[in-house]
Amino acid sequence: MGSPMKLRARADGDVVEVKILMAHVMETGQRKNPAGEPIPAHFIQTVTVTYGPRTVLSAQWGPAVSANPFLSFKFKGGEKGGTIRVNWVDNKGDTRTDATIIL
């Protein structure tokens, strides 16, 4: 199970701005350790953000995204007090889901 994410969601009218900070090594598979052996790739492949039953963002990621990635986006139709749920799955099958209330 992955480490907790830091989530923030704030409503301005019916537009909700979501900010997500994920803890992940995001190894590219291209790097070598000091002994010269390749470090196996380990990165987040899918990110899904839902608001109630509705998927408001779905992303497919590759190894080019930095370690501990930050993601920020806006969507229309959210309300204060609603719940935002964020899930990621990485290439080793590890996954993490966290939730936050829209402020």
Partner: protein, 275 residues
């Protein structure tokens, strides 16, 4: 990027970072240094919202409040100088003299004292993997420093032992040694200097010293880790071609006392975010 004396040599940089560096290069090419600095400031502004140090801060808070070690105690009674468990502003007043240990201690050495005394951990356990990303000490220092956001650096070194450390720190700052004759002053005693394109604070100038010290500990994008002040200083010492300075050693703490004194009055913004 060209390797330099001072590079961490970890060839991974966030995509956004590479973009900002390219922008900096392009602007420097026009000969306009100020624009390059503005662009880097904009990049930092952009990242501030998503500073991965916040992840470390969350982990640090958990480590602070969770009972651990043979004594199954949390760190909530840890005295960082302002009384047991008092966190707001504590980092900004460190390093300082502590009666109970008869030592001048910084945030890191004091946290280790709390982990050994309150929780019964060994020093080895308390400092495990301190040079690697995600160590416990890194998380705890980040958490503690964050609680000083908005507090002014105020470590005037008035106690005789603190004053002695400040004087020793000043000598260490200018102390040249090794095959390249380096001291801290080689790179950090003039205004607006750079190694390659990396800006260097001038610690003889209070404003410049403040702008540096208020942002440590800091998340280093090139290292994917928060670096504490000790980690930063020990790496500078390594780059000066010296042997590894001991973690929590008096030489490192004396330098910190001197630098905090130079930076007096700076308002803490840590954790910062850096290359």
């Amino acid at each position: 990027m060209q390797p330099s004396f001072f590079d961490g040599l970890r060839p991974r940089i966030a995509a956004a970072c590479a973009g900002a560096l390219l922008a900096a290069v392009a602007l420097t090419a026009t000969g306009d240094d100020n624009h390059a600095i503005d662009e880097i400031a904009k990049y930092r502004e952009m990242l501030k919202d998503g500073n991965p140090a916040e992840l470390m801060e969350m982990r640090g808070e958990e480590l602070w409040t969770t009972p651990r070690g043979p004594r199954a105690a949390s760190l909530e009674q840890c005295d960082l100088g302002l009384g047991p468990g008092v966190l707001p502003g504590a980092y900004a007043h460190l390093p300082r003299w502590f009666e109970d240990t008869s030592k001048v201690q910084d945030a890191e050495s004091r946290l280790v004292t709390c982990m050994t005394v309150l929780q019964g951990l060994s020093v080895e356990e308390a400092t495990r993997n301190w040079t690697k990303p995600n160590s416990d000490i890194e998380a705890l220092v980040t958490f503690v420093a964050t609680k000083s956001q908005g507090a002014a650096i105020d470590a005037p070194a008035l106690h005789p032992r603190e004053a002695e450390f400040a004087a020793v720190g000043a000598e260490l700052f200018f102390r040249r040694a090794g095959p390249l004759d380096f001291s801290c002053a080689t790179c950090h005693s003039q205004d607006q200097r750079r190694i390659r394109l990396q800006d260097l604070p001038n610690f003889l100038d209070p404003k410049s010293a403040q702008s540096s010290m208020i942002t440590w500990p800091a998340y280093r994008v090139s290292q994917s880790a928060v670096w504490t002040m000790e980690r930063r200083l020990i790496d500078c010492i390594r780059q000066m071609r010296a042997p590894d300075a001991d973690y929590l050693s008096d030489a490192v703490i004396a330098l910190e006392v001197y630098l905090q004194k130079q930076a007096a009055g700076g308002v803490m913004q840590a954790p910062g975010i850096k290359r």
